[in-house]
Structures are given as C-alpha cells and as structure tokens.
Symmetry: D2
Subunit: 300 residues, 4 copies
C-alpha cells in the first residue's frame, strides 16, 4: 500500500449534548466527496481521539466507511495508551472497513521510551493489524519525538507503510525520505509545511486546512507536480495563516469554528476542549475570508 495525495484529518462532530452527531458527519462527508480530497483521517488528533471511548471510535470508523462508499482512502486513528488495546482497536478498524491505522508512539511514560520499547510497541501492533500501520509523530501533543533513525528501522516492517510527521522538523523529514525503506510513504503532518515537504520527497500530506480548502491545497500539489514552483510558493505562503489558525494556534476548537463559518458542521468540541471565544471566532473568520478571497483571485 502506497499512500499518496491529500488527506483531511476530520474533526468528530458532536451534538450540543455531546453525542457524536452522525447526521452532521454524513453532511460533511457528502460535501468532501465533491472535493479533490484523496482520503480521510478519522479519530486522529483533530478527531479528538483521547475524548472518545473505544466503542465510539469503532462506530465512527464504521460510519465513515459506510458514508464514503469507497470514495476515500480511510486511515483510522487507533492509538491507545496500552499496546493490547491499540492492537484490538486496529483490528476493529479494519473490520469496520478502514484501509490503514494511524498510531502514535507511547508517550505518558516517555521516560521509559527506549528505542527497544518503542520498536516493540509498533511491531506488536503491526503484527496484529490486518491493515497497514501508519506511524504518527506529533511531539506538540505527546511531548516526545519519534526520530528518523527509529522510523527508518520501523519502515522495514512489512506492515508498517508510512509516517505522518507533524514535527515540522524539515531535516528530520528529509532524513526519513532518504533513509526509510523503499515504498515507505512519508506524509507532511501539516499544511504549514506542505511545499517544503514535497520538495524533499514526501508523497502527500494530512492538513487541517484541507477540511475547508481542499481545492487550494490540491492546487499546491498540482503546481509542484507541474514544476510551477513560483505559483506553488505563493499558494503555500498564503495558506500558512489559515492553517495555523485551525491547528497550532486555536486547535480543534478553531477548526470547528472555521468549519461552521465555511458551511460545514463544526459544532462544539468535547470538554476539556472549549469552543473558541467570540474574539477568536472573529479572527478566524477574518483569516478564512482573506485566504478565500486571495485564492479565488489567484485561481481565476
């Protein structure tokens, strides 16, 4: 399995009462089907995985698989703190119809994260899973970096197929591209560094902003593929503000606010995440509209 293209790390929609809003999910997916998105990441960091129960995650995997009707490559976020639960949820994800699973390194007991312990965690999960494992490096949330040496070793496992690296460390991403096994897919984990990641060899990206502006994101891929580096650069630089607003700066609540504004269902996050305050909502709207206007001008 080779991962390629543009994936949206979709948020999990909740009703005002805090239940998963499956109707809203259906609406969102119906919309995304008409965009150039290649795949969806379900119950990743943007999907509030730590705030979902095991059974909610399985339901979500099923719902997304049913609603996608084969249109998307589906990557299910199946990381759990314990090895056995991650393995179990990975099996459930494949039974639900997902095509790959996204797994973080262990991180609460990070002081005990020897290379051997981390290798064993991923190897056990990959051995148990019926679908390929995608490694997920997200030090801003986990407080622990999965380095390129370890990734390169893991890349030789027959059922570990790629990595989503959200570290933003472009030298590390380069070293993975250089040293990982052939056919190992390297994905940029953020739209804020898509173009430089493509330049060093990434085959795709998961990008918060792809939930809202998939066409614009696709335009960067296309411009790069066609050698229009100047256009690619201008789009990339323009994209950073809105991408940072819906990821690093304002997090999942920021992404949901932007989706509400863009005509998708964002809705409330689950506590302890709190909806953005009015002032932030207005800032996000302004950043959203500025980018939208810019993109329409450029692409017309």
């Amino acid at each position: 399995m080779i991962l390629k293209g543009m994936f949206a790390p979709i948020p999990t929609p909740f009703t005002p009462e805090g239940e998963i809003a499956f109707d809203a999910l259906e609406g969102n997916i119906r919309h995304w089907k008409q965009t150039p998105l290649d795949g969806l990441v379900i119950a990743g960091s943007n999907g509030e995985w730590p705030l979902l129960s095991f059974s909610e995650r399985v339901e979500l995997f099923k719902a997304c698989a049913d609603l996608s009707e084969g249109r998307f490559t589906l990557i299910a976020g199946t990381h759990c703190p314990s090895t056995s639960e991650t393995a179990e949820l990975s099996v459930a994800a494949s039974e639900a119809g997902c095509h790959a699973v996204l797994v973080l390194p262990p991180h609460y007991y990070k002081g005990q994260n020897s290379p051997e312990a981390v290798m064993k965690y991923f190897t056990t999960v990959a051995d148990a899973s019926f679908v390929p494992v995608v490694l997920y490096n997200m030090p801003a949330n986990t407080g622990w970096n999965l380095d390129w040496k370890l990734v390169s070793k893991l890349s030789t496992h027959r059922n570990i197929t790629g990595i989503k690296d959200s570290s933003g460390d472009i030298v590390q991403i380069s070293m993975i591209c250089k040293n990982a096994a052939e056919d190992f897919s390297v994905f940029a984990g953020s739209g804020s560094f898509l173009l430089p990641s493509l330049a060093v060899g990434c085959s795709g990206a998961t990008m918060g902003v792809a939930n809202i502006f998939p066409e614009a994101c696709r335009a960067i891929f296309d411009a790069f593929a066609e050698g229009k580096m100047d256009m690619a650069r201008r789009l990339q630089l323009a994209l950073i503000d809105i991408n940072q607003a819906v990821t690093k700066r304002f997090g999942v609540p920021g992404l949901k606010a932007a989706m509400d504004h863009a005509g998708l269902y964002g809705g409330p996050p689950r506590p302890p995440l709190e909806p953005v305050v009015e002032k932030v909502r207005n800032e996000i709207i302004a950043i959203h509209d500025e980018f939208k206007e810019y993109y329409e001008e450029v692409s017309s």
Copy 2:
C-alpha cells in the same frame, strides 16, 4: 480534609497474563498495614492508570478500600482525558470507599490549555465529586506544568483540597505554600526532594520509595519534626539514589523490580511498559541493598 504525612503511590500488580493480580494486591496491602504509611495513592502514575480500563480502575479502588479496612487514607487516581469521564470516575471512586481523588490537568491538547480552560476542567470535576480533589502536577509525564498562580486560584474551591507537585521546582512549591488558601495541603510528589519540601511548608509527600522503605521515609519526617536537621539531611541524601531508581530513572518497571527483590509483589508492567532488563535489575538490587544497609546502620 487536611492531607498530612506519607503516602505510597502503589503500583498495580498484574499476573503474568496481564490481569490485575488481586491476591498479590492483598499481600502487599497486608504488608503495608504494618508500616508507618499514612495513605495510599491508587491508580496514579505508578499505578499505570493510562493502561487500565475505567472498570478496572473502579475494581481496584474497591479492592484497596476493602483490604485497607480503614487503616489508610485512600487517594484514587481518577484523571481521564475527558472532563465528563473524570467526573464520573471520581464519583465511582467515592462510592468505592476512597477519600479523595487525584486529578491531572488536561495535557494532550496542551496548546489549548488556557488558564480558563484548565480552571473549568478542575472546577467541573470538583463540583461533581463527592470527595475532595487533589491536584496533580506531573510535567515529566504530561509535558505541561500547572503553575503556582493557577494552583493558588484553584485552592479557593471548597472541594479542592491540595496538590501533589512532582515537578521538583522548589521555588514553585514554595510559592504554592505561600499563596494557596489556608488549609490547602501541599505534598511533595517525590521522595527525592522530601526534606526541602518540608522545609518550605509541605505537610506530606507521596514517594515511590515509600512502597519499599516506609520506615526510612518516616524517619525523615520525624527527624525534621524534632528539629534533628542533621539526621534529616543525611537520610534525605542517602534516599535519593534508590528513589530515583524506582521513579525517574527506571520508572514503574524499576519500582516493580525493587518490590520483587524486597519481598513484595512487583510483577510485570503492562505493555508498552516492559520489565527491566537483567543488567538494570541488578543495578536496582545493588542500590536497594546499599540503602538498606545504610539505613540499618544509621537507625540502630
């Protein structure tokens, strides 16, 4: 409720098959009853809380309450990533017979940890809980520090009774002692800085090493209380090596190895935690025996 004295953050014993070993737990608690321990912390970091299911934690709270027969103050680790689950588990802990609950700040989405969001998390949990909440600052695991200003604000909530600060930042601990509400209990979160914490006003401590050497730990409390500062200092300096070995250096697997050696039930941790390798086990045994010998000499 005022927390005072010496608490052991007990490990959760597992059978070789990975189930909770209630027999072993009974044996350990029977032993601890004959020591000067004042209380137990159940399903804290040493208790591998992230690797336990919700229902396992409830079972564990019940078992400890039953086995303690009123001998110990029981603090139940009830932190969950979602606010509602933490509240629910806190209620279950009180129903199980525990006297207080230990709650970490939210930490996966640490980028969204505004003072307001963190206040709301703890306030919601404290409002819902039937027993007092003890704050738990553990930046080495969470990657996020709960600072003294926030703690001082939270300390005025009628159902937030204290903090276990494992940061090791002695100025921060001092500032909490100075600025928190009266009757707010400040606990050192490690035996490696017990004496300096007592010196600046802490009323007690939870200490990994108290699982194995409660008498020696008690001797530091006593020496301090009696103004025997020289004896207190010598014991404290001697204690650091063994305490670091069963906490920061080798983690829960190190603590379990030391307990196995000391005649208690340590047993295996749950993956992704791995048992210590032979070389480390031998180092832990050597450090254990060196301290034991030292303490016997000093106390005779």
Copy 3:
C-alpha cells in the same frame, strides 16, 4: 579554602554616560561593610560581565579589593569564552586582591560540550589560577546545565573549591552535596531557594536580594542554624517575591531599580540591557516596601 555564608552578587554601577562609576561603587561598598554580608561576587551575571571589557573587569577587581579593606571574601567573575583569556583574567584577579574566581562552563558552542571538553576547560583554568576556582552553573543564561556528575568529578581538583548553582534544581544540588569531595563548598545561587538548599547541605548562598536586604537574608541563615525552622520558613517564603523581582523577573535592571529606591546607587545598566520602565519600577518599589514592612514587623 571553605566558602561559607552570604555573598552579594553586586551590580556594576555605571554613570549616565556608561562609564564605571567608581564613586558610586565606593558608596555602595561603604554601606555593605556595615551589614552582615560575608562576601562579594564581582563581575558575575549581576555585574554585567559580558558587557565589560577585560581591562574594566581588572579595574573593578582592584577597586573592590581596595575599598573592601579586607572586610569581605571577594569572588571575581573571570569567565571568558576562550580558555586562555579566562586563565589570564583569573591570574589578574588574584593580583588585584580577590580571593577566588567564579567560572561558568563554556556555552556558546554548547553542542560540543562533551564531559571531556568541559573538564579540560575547568582543569586548565584551575591549574593556571593562583586562587581557588568556584564553578558557576547558570542555565537560565547559558542554556546549558553543569550536572552533578561532572561537578563531583571536578570537585576533586585541588584548586576547585566550590560551586554556585543557580539552576534551582534542588535534587541536583542535593546530589552535589552528597557526592562532591569533602571540603567542597556548595552555594545556592539564588535567594529564592536558600532555605531548602541549607536543608540539604549548602554552606552558603549568593543572593541578588542580599544587595538590599542583607539583614533579612542573614536572619534566615541564623534561624536555620538555631533550629528555628518555622521562623526560617516564614522569612524564606516572604523573601521570594522581592528576590524574583530583582533576578529572574526583571534582571539586572530590576536590581538596579530596587537599589536606587533603597538608597544605594543602582543607576542605568549597559545596553542592550535597558532600564526598567516606569510601571515596572513602581511594581518593584511596591514589592520592596511590602517585604521591608513585613521584615521589620517580624524582626521587632
């Protein structure tokens, strides 16, 4: 040489034109002679050493030695980025009449700070110096921590006599107290953690606040020595606000503002350091006066 007691890390006074204000220095030292201070640290971090030329530092050492008339133990800050210059300035410091030299680890090329390289730096300087070397750990400024293992090794050098540890890591300070050579002096590098440092075995401290409130600082030493732990604790907790204001929070400009208010000569710092703005000056004055009032009440 055993270092003991309370040292003030004195600021270097400048005229409004930016020259060293030797008259002001004389006035300050005349004042300090009438206080319980044991020693002065000259051209340390508070003395703006990086902003002074080699020859200015030598002049300053001489002036302080002359003005002290044997009243103080004088520690000269002689760290320079290059080994040979540090050695040379250390020799000049002894010729100027100082009793010891204070030396930081190399830190610009911190990526090359192998234990061997750092050992060699300090050993070369200590071999060359006619007076004992005091190690100086100041990670907040240098970005590099001198750990207890390295300190313990260095402590066996016949001409390395002690350490001023400003890290605030009380476990590290404890480990130095435990593992360093006999007669090696361990100094707390800040008044914010004086009492806990004494509790684990430090023999003294250099404290920014000792420039302004030497009697109050001395009172903590005395209370500790006399076993009046409750009094020691209350003074320590009260001292932190003013000490942080003249060190970590507002730096040398804050200390100089407080000295101006207290009737000593503070004056302007050298650029790039800038005098505190009016709002900060007022905050410092308020914190100063609050402590002064508290101390007068307690000590009367």
Copy 4:
C-alpha cells in the same frame, strides 16, 4: 543591497600555537576564488567569533577583504554582547572593506529580551553601521529564537537588509519570506535545509558544507532554478549527512577536520573547543568521501 546565492561561513585558521594563521587563510581564499562561491561570512559561528578579540576580528576582516580582491561579497560577523561594541566593530568592518555585517540578538540576559529591547539593540547598531546589517538567528548556540514577527518589523529598517536563519524552523522561515519588507533577503542558515528554504522563497544560504563542496551546493541552486526538482531533491538528501557532520554533530572541530582531509587548511580550533578525536575524524572522512563519490557519479 540584495543578498543572493551561496556563502561559505569560513572557519578562522589558527597555527598550532593558537595565533591566526594568515598564510593558511590566504591559501584557503585562493582556493575558494576558483569555486562558484558568491560570498564569505567572516568571524561567524564557524569563525569562532567568541574566541577572537576585537582587534583580531578587525585584522581578519582586513585580511579577507585584501585577499578577496573584490571576488566575494563579504559579510563580517560583528556581534558583541554590548550594543556599543557591536556598533563600533560594525564600523570597523566597513572600514576594513566588508560589505555587510552579521549580528546576533542579545542572548546572555535572554530573560530581559523584550521585543522592545531587541528592537532597540538592532536599530542602534543599524543606525551606526555604514554597511547593511544582516540579522542572525542561531538558537542552537544562543538559546533564544528571533521570531518572524520581530524580524518582519526589523526588516523595514533601511539599513537592515536580510537574515540568516539557522533555526531550521521551515514555517518560521516561510513566514519571514511572506511578511518581511520587499527586498529583504532571507537566507537559509544551513545546507541541511537549503532546498526546502529555496522552495518557500529564500534567495540564498550560508552553508558549512560550502567550504568543502561549493560545486555540489551550487548544483542544488541550479537544479532548483532550472526546475529540475528531482535532481535538486536527490542532491539535497545526499548533502545532509556531510553538512550535519561539519555543523550540528561535530561543530567547528568537525569542519576543520573535513577541511584538512579535503586539502584545505583546517587546523586546530581554539580551546575550549578541542580537535575531534581520531574515531570522529575517521567518521568524518568516511562521510566526506561517500558524498564526494556520490556527487562525482551524479554530476558526470
């Protein structure tokens, strides 16, 4: 003044006795004149600026200007801890014949680095200097990051012409490219992320490895300019190992060892920097030769 192209941050050659080896400098510069290098950075981090005296730096600037005979754009590293000394050395650099000066943010008193203080430092220096100022962000050495917002503000100063950003934070570099004043030049501060930096809009780079492999570095620039992204990527990935070896991993001593091997004069660094040990020297030689072989194959 617009900075463009490839600059070598040249090491300062020393004789075995520790004096500046002007003969060796002449030999090196004679060699570099026959390469595609566009400019030299003198007395930067690779030039061991903290280990040189003020007058040595001036001599070095003069020697490089004389030896270059107009062949290179010359950027003089003139940062000093004090504002006035930096201004003075910047004036001396222009009188010596250099075309621009490279200036770090203040960093010893990093706790006092308010945006205002940093702005004032750079503004004062830029006002005083007769040649344009190039900002220099080097957090690995300084422990302090000069962020894109501050850089964007500084970029409007008429005599601040560009930045060399060695942070490796590609999103930050992108934001500078997007937000800085028109005609402000953004340089990648390392060969390890040259291509991604060009992709987001940098106009050039200073690269440790350009001291040894200027043709290969130039080949990346050329491939990028000609839209040969695949070739550019392959060269970039191959270049990282040797560039890391002579920068981040083994520092100035590593660069000097590689130069010795490559037929240039490397020689010893100044203490506290120590020459690499034999094992490291052999590793560097192996990495050097591997890249050389690769490049000869690719370029033939």
